[in-house]
Symmetry: C2
Subunit: 206 residues, 2 copies
């Protein structure tokens, strides 16, 4: 066996153990006591949210807009939301002038709140605040963004080319999660990003 | 018949004709060509949205938060969203310092987008931007807010008194609606508020 073969075997073993040891699974609702898992579950299982920016046209008002997003392949999210936006829409224009933004998600669209009111703290809600940035073209990251988005939003591939859609990401700085009584659940960015799998580990290599 | 009786008959007649002549009905999706009806339908049929404010704690970042709201009794909305908020939550605290806010709604939770992507312009979306204000206590308006909210969000009545929930409303200044190809649909506040019924007309008397 040559060096290439050994390298390949080690790589497969490494990836396999990463996946096996962490085993990120976002298909069922986590225990509300586990804030990190709940936040990552909300980011993985929702396919749209409200992206808020500082409005140029409305004198700096906070402007929320409905957008689709993806944080990874289905059921294998990495926590960082990616978007496919055009400057024909105010959100992208706002972000190119002032990067400050937040993405807000509710458990309600996932369907597991039942009859619980969406404002009730046990119907979980997540706000990720940070900077909304263009993903650099011709990079591995833009390939990740494309596969993450197009695997969940198939029709995006066919959206009009002359609209000049581009990939954006939210560079997260603050995580606001409410998933039970008692106010927001304290969580650092490192804690939020910690649950990982093969795909997220590869992403970290960029 | 005394004056009181004549007054009562005229009042009933007036209200009856208002309702009959305008006939606000928000139970089925309007034709996308009718932007006003679509916007009012989104406000009437959604029971939660994302309310964005300027964050005190995050250096002025736009902070979206999941909230429940109501613009009137079920299927009889008047277009102005009311909320039941506590300053234990950042949104109310932010608004008391800087009133600028927006409420963002999607057609997706109503269930009529089918397989259409939530970011596709034919899956309608609405952003109402304006000022988030406390409703004055002991007024007819606060009674309206309570009946509008509690008729759609029954559990609110039982929310903890020591949380000091209060009624807020969004005093709308700008209406951003996308419900078809071709960008936002132009609409003035007067046009948005024009479709009316008995309940909304009474509200205008305050």
């Amino acid at each position: 066996m040559n060096f290439k073969g050994v390298y390949y075997i080690c790589f497969v073993f490494l990836i396999g153990s990463l996946e096996a040891s962490v085993g990120v699974d976002y298909t069922s609702k986590p225990d509300p006591k586990d804030g990190v898992a709940t936040a990552r579950w909300l980011a993985s299982q929702n396919n749209w949210g409200v992206l808020s920016t500082i409005s140029i046209e409305l004198g700096g008002a906070p402007f929320g807009n409905v957008v689709s997003f993806s944080d990874g392949l289905p059921d294998k999210g990495c926590g960082i939301p990616y978007f496919y936006l055009t400057t024909l829409d105010p959100t992208a224009r706002n972000a190119l002038k002032d990067e400050r933004a937040s993405l807000t998600l509710s458990e309600s669209p996932i369907g597991s709140c039942g009859k619980t009111d969406p404002e009730n703290p046990t119907c979980a809600k997540l706000t990720l605040t940070g900077k909304l940035m263009l993903v650099t073209e011709n990079t591995t990251e833009v390939e990740f963004a494309a596969s993450a988005l197009f695997s969940k939003h198939a029709e995006m591939k066919g959206w009009p080319q002359d609209h000049k859609f581009q990939f954006y990401k939210l560079d997260i700085e603050d995580i606001f999660l409410v998933d039970w009584f008692g106010g927001r659940k304290p969580m650092t960015l490192a804690q939020y990003l910690q649950p990982s799998n093969q795909q997220c580990e590869l992403k970290k290599l960029w």
